[in-house]
Amino acid sequence: MYAAEAKNLWRFFGEKPALQGVDLNVEEGLVFGLIGPNGAGKTTLFRILATILKPSTGEIRIFGKDVVKQSAEIRRMISYLPEDAGVYRHLTGLAFLKMMARLYSVGSVEKGVEVAGLGEALRERMGGYSRGMRRRILLASCLMVKPRLAILDEPTAGLDVEHAVYVRKIIKQYAAEGVTFLVSSHNMLEVSYLCDTVALIHNGKILLEGKPSQLTASQGVENLEELFVKKMGAGR
């Protein structure tokens, strides 16, 4: 059983197709990277997987469950970190983690406190957090609830080196513990470092899918960055 699978997935916004016949298989326990330019359809695909948008046509399943018909069950198995996710300014980091623990029926916030790594700042209101601190507390809330699939839309976008390294380290750590990750990023070095499998999406279509090393070899390029530029150039 795949952690996530999509068959001939289409999604329209008005007349405009955001996804055009996407087929995708994400194996359980792996870190799957979705790369593509802005407006390629990454966020739309993630939102459908996260059950907040519905597909126009096609089939999409998470651990065998239909995202439209069994969305409530899916929400118990996944966690989703949107690209620009914000925080509740008047809540402290600790209060936020406690709220998430209650909603997911997780007994303790110990894991969240550990992942966030914010020390005493957890007792401060999140409104005063830096972008990096906010991303860390949100990532902690996503992982402390023990999801089977974590969908992270550009988890390190806009973070300084220190915070970005920290986030990548945490993802690696949880992936080793068996959590499946579906990650999007514009940072090809990050994708190479984190992902077991990569798919390149452009204009709502999956152009390539495979292991990073296989993809670069098959396309005769040095790295994912070159691959990206080559395919995008061909796509234009």
Binding site: R47, I52, Y80, A85, G86, R89, M100
Partner: protein, 421 residues
């Protein structure tokens, strides 16, 4: 030159804002003529309807000039009903004959006029409801009565050959007022009017401000989620949309309850501190019993929750806090301000049927009418208005919930501002 360039830039920026065009230019063009037209219609309606209102003439004399007075009433546009030598009370008579005014002609009336002396009559008018429209109607009746007196004067002048100016006011009018079936003194009438201003003008005015604020607060609660970008994550948590909406409503209702409690408490303090003439009967005042306060509280609470739902709807439709607040204002203000302003000047029953029906389509019309009914002790009517308000609340709740549950919560962006970039 640089100032002119900047002014051009500022003007272009300002005039491209839809909120400025709607709020500053279009709203006054629409709302003010609408209110003016409505008030004019209500005034015409109140004035013309008096022609059909009968007047009771209690003729305890049966003399020559009491008959002339009856003819003068007819000429002034009344339909006089004459009753002779009755000992029935004025309140009972007015109720039996369903008249808004009664004039008593006592013995000696004709004799005084024949002798060239000023005669006197007692005039009673009844106030069926406390409203500016009712006062306007009474004023119109009184003007016609004065006109009838002038006609009587003209007749006297023609008969006796004395200059008309002498008989311009041949009769002294002694006025009395009936309210809630009992005769009230002028001081009491003043107090009743003061109470009217307290309950029917200031309280709804405060309510208008409060209700408008609540709507924008609810819109803000969703707008904040969108603006702070917490909404997407919230929607993927293992909780249903119904639970999220319920939580927002319960939190907002808690605020609304606090607002209602503070409003009722403030209202009681306000009424008890009014510098009023002591009334001879508590029947004239708005009874501050537990029941009326409960009813008043319920009306205010339902109105507030209704506004919160409109606010939530606006929050769902708009993209951010500012957009939500603007949209909430735009949805609420016509529904709230038009009935408030129109009902200040006109009685709902005195309006043309189409306008009256259109006003009834605003849930807030029922709020104002429910408060008025409580004041007039028409509790059944007040409860009926409350039921209608609750029905409106249910409809708004269903619509808000429908929008909240769908994808529109994420994808819909109704904006009153110019789209940038």
């Amino acid at each position: 030159m640089s100032i002119a360039t900047l002014v051009r830039k500022e003007l272009r920026e300002l005039l491209m804002e839809k909120t400025i065009i709607i709020g500053v230019v279009l709203m006054p063009l629409v709302i003010l003529p609408l209110i003016g037209g409505t008030i004019a219609m209500a005034s015409r309606s109140a004035t013309t309807s008096t022609a059909d209102i009968p007047i009771l003439l209690v003729d305890n004399e049966g003399g020559k000039y009491s008959k002339v007075l009856s003819e003068a009433f007819r000429a002034a546009g009344f339909s006089p009903i004459t009753v002779t030598n009755t000992s029935e009370s004025v309140a009972s008579l007015m109720e039996s004959y369903r008249v808004a005014a009664t004039v008593y002609v006592e013995k000696g009336f004709s004799q005084n006029l024949t002798d060239g002396k000023r005669a006197s009559v007692k005039m009673f008018t009844t106030v069926s409801s406390i409203s500016i429209a009712e006062l306007q109607k009474i004023s119109s009746i009184r003007s016609r009565i004065y006109l009838a007196m002038e006609m009587l004067g003209e007749r006297l002048a023609a008969e006796t050959g004395i200059h008309f100016s002498f008989y311009k006011q041949p009769v002294e009018l002694k006025s009395g007022l009936l309210y809630k079936g009992r005769q009230v003194s002028l001081e009491e009438a003043g107090t009743v009017f003061q109470l009217y201003m307290a309950t029917m003008v200031f309280v709804p005015l405060v309510l208008v401000v409060m209700v408008a604020t609540s709507g924008t607060v609810a819109a803000t609660s969703i707008g904040l989620e969108k603006e702070a970008k917490t909404l997407e994550m919230l929607l993927t948590l293992p909780i249903s949309r119904t639970s999220i909406l319920t939580a927002k409503l319960v939190a907002s209702m808690t605020v609304a309850l606090m607002g209602t409690a503070s409003m009722v408490f403030g209202f009681v303090i306000y009424l008890t501190n009014l510098p009023m003439v002591e009334l001879t009967s508590t029947e004239l005042t708005m009874p501050l019993s537990g029941f009326t306060l409960l009813l008043l509280g319920l009306v205010m609470f339902v109105a507030l929750v209704m506004t919160l739902c409109i606010g939530i709807l606006a929050g769902v439709l708009a993209g951010d806090v500012r957009g939500g607040q603007q949209l909430a204002g735009l949805l609420q203000m016509p529904l709230l301000l038009l009935p408030f302003l129109i009902l200040q000047f006109a009685d709902i029953n005195g309006l043309p049927p189409t306008l009256s029906a259109a006003l009834m389509l605003s849930p807030f019309t029922h709020m104002f009418l429910a408060i008025k009914s409580i004041y007039e002790e028409a509790y059944l009517m007040s409860v009926l208005h409350l039921v209608v308000m609750t029905a409106f609340l249910m409809v708004i709740l269903v619509v808000a919930s429908w929008f909240f549950k769908g994808e529109r919560l994420l994808t819909m962006r109704v904006t009153l501002r110019r789209r940038r970039g």
